[in-house]
Symmetry: C2
Subunit: 360 residues, 2 copies
């Protein structure tokens, strides 16, 4: 990585980043993951390598006729889908741990895994470490708003958060919005239970105060105060800040509600003969809609704030989801999100945030 | 109210409860509220009275030809939609406050209001007071699961909750489930970010421990551990326990996601000529679905744990929503949910819960 600024060049002139794909993570690993990697190389033109049990993966690559296109790095162990944070210590030779080692050495720039979220968050946090000044890495997901997606952060990495962390999540989300969608001065909102200032629990009230003070006159952040759950899809802000508990509840509630609604639509559309006739005409349109929800919302959650890009794909990812996650990892790593975060997050101590608020 | 048990008779033999409807609360007050009250009396056969500015309301009742069917109790003041908790002190003569006075005197049994949630929660908490042993009243909403609706509590009354409160929310929700849906031993789940025990933030981890200890061998509660956001519509539990912050985020996220999905469906269905032809056949089915979501999920939130039944209807309620809220108030009050809560919540001190957990 060179040290040139990239504010005006989202597509860098340096060689494209290398994506290390964890072949062993996910409900459909390794076969569907390998297929996704092949798709990322052939259809999207990305640079990818696979990490996992070499012979098994090589055989699958051979089946796809892609043995020469994708290097394989051997890892003898893997993290099971039910394993959580402890796996990071218990499995130093897991495919995810080996991929992190490649990133630390500079042999790869990003990790894509469909493995257990808890396991991948812990493994990559321990092995890649947080960037200078970053208190905790946070999971960022995108919601399918128009014209640009809204980023929600944290979507589940930190169940117990502090106000200082929420302030940093805003920085991390802004860096994502600028890198992936070119938004120079992202609008930031705090997920709350009412829109007026002073609403909500202690955590969000304090975080809102700090963000309001920080963003006053800022050229890199436009703080818009509180937003509510029903605003998530209205594109009112570019970055939604929340603790990992509420964020994860919101994300999974979106997933559950969308599935429930689409099923109810399907039932409603086939409830009478007339409607049934109509439904036949439209099956394609509904399928497209479901795909849009699946891929845009759940294609991949980015773990932000580490020394290296990490994208966690949905556990039951199919090849399309894996390829989509690779594209996201490519965009974030190639757009040098790490530099964006370094510029936004103060390096030394987060306590200057307090001082700044109180000095005013 | 007589002292007979009502476990086997959800429809009591005592006279049906009187519902005091806050005519001045809500975006469409007073006209749509008055119409809703008329609908509750004519179509649902409920006993209703209206509280608000007498001459204005009487004129509207006269227009509907219902002047003799619904008594009007005068209240000179009202709580504006933007007013929050402070309104409970600031407006002792608001329609909501007058309705609470009727309940305390025994002249009414339940309050229905489409006013500002913060204002109504505060007013009714101050004026009706909590039942013996209840730490905080909590908002309960129902989700349209089959065969019986799932109750989520707290949906926003307590932004900062403690583990002891979450335990009580479980009791309140169980009382609701038994009273409204006849579930004798409701299944209870804690809304969390993972399904395994030990997941989540400190609050839910501690509450889960306490609930597990409490429910062991219980004949009135079946504790099922953690549930996640995508399980809300799967009918896995009868009662979902959560703090008011996460609960409100979940509720409003459901609202936002359902609206977004239904709009996207509409667009998808009209995106091609073929699909457009199909959509014409189905407009009715989609409208029915939207109504189901609106009325079942947002018809009314019950504020549980006070000396009197309180149902808060959606702020933009139309007559159907008001009538639906009156029906809910009738069912809860007539089924004597207060007695159910008294039986489930320990009267003295909540600290026995700690002792019980530690004694084990």
């Amino acid at each position: 990585m060179t040290g040139t600024t990239d504010a005006d060049s989202p597509v860098p002139r340096t060689p494209p980043p290398i994506i290390a794909v964890d072949a062993m993570g996910g409900d459909n690993a390794p076969r569907e993951i390998v297929r996704g990697a092949v798709m990322a190389v052939r259809d999207l033109g990305l640079r990818v390598l696979l990490v996992g049990r070499r012979t098994e993966i090589a055989a699958m690559l051979a089946e796809e006729g892609a043995l020469r296109d994708i290097p394989v790095v051997h890892a003898e162990d893997d993290i099971a889908m039910h394993e959580g944070a402890l796996a990071s210590w218990r499995r130093p030779r897991s495919s995810a741990a080996v991929a992190c080692r490649l990133i630390r050495r500079g042999d790869a720039h990003a990790l894509v895994s469909a493995g257990s979220t808890g396991g991948i968050v812990a493994t990559s946090t321990v092995r890649l470490r947080t960037q200078p000044g970053v208190l905790r890495p946070a999971l960022a997901v995108t919601l399918p708003t128009e014209p640009v997606p809204t980023i929600m952060v944290d979507a589940g990495a930190n169940a117990d958060a502090k106000p200082e962390m929420l302030v940093q999540f805003a920085h991390l989300g802004c860096a994502y919005s600028q890198t992936a969608f070119g938004v120079e001065r992202p609008r930031v909102g705090v997920l709350n239970i009412g829109s007026e200032p002073g609403k909500g629990n202690k955590l969000v009230r304090r975080a809102s105060e700090m963000l309001a003070a920080l963003a006053e006159g800022s050229e890199t952040m436009d703080f818009r105060g509180n937003i509510e759950g029903h605003d998530l899809f209205r594109g009112k802000v570019d970055v939604v800040v929340t603790d990992g508990h509420s964020g994860n509840v919101a994300l999974k509630t979106i997933e559950g509600t969308a599935a429930f609604t689409l099923n109810a639509v399907k039932e409603a559309l086939t409830s009478s003969t007339m409607a049934k006739a109509g439904a036949m005409l439209q099956r394609g349109a509904l399928r497209k809609l479901r795909e849009r929800f699946d891929s845009e919302t759940y294609g991949g959650a980015a773990l932000l704030g580490l020394n290296g890009t990490v994208v966690i794909a949905h556990g039951d990812s199919h090849p399309e989801g894996v390829a989509h996650a690779c594209q996201l990892a490519h965009d974030l790593s190639g757009g040098r999100i790490g530099e964006q975060i370094r510029r936004r997050v103060p390096h030394r101590s987060p306590h200057w945030l307090h001082r700044r608020t109180e000095d005013r």
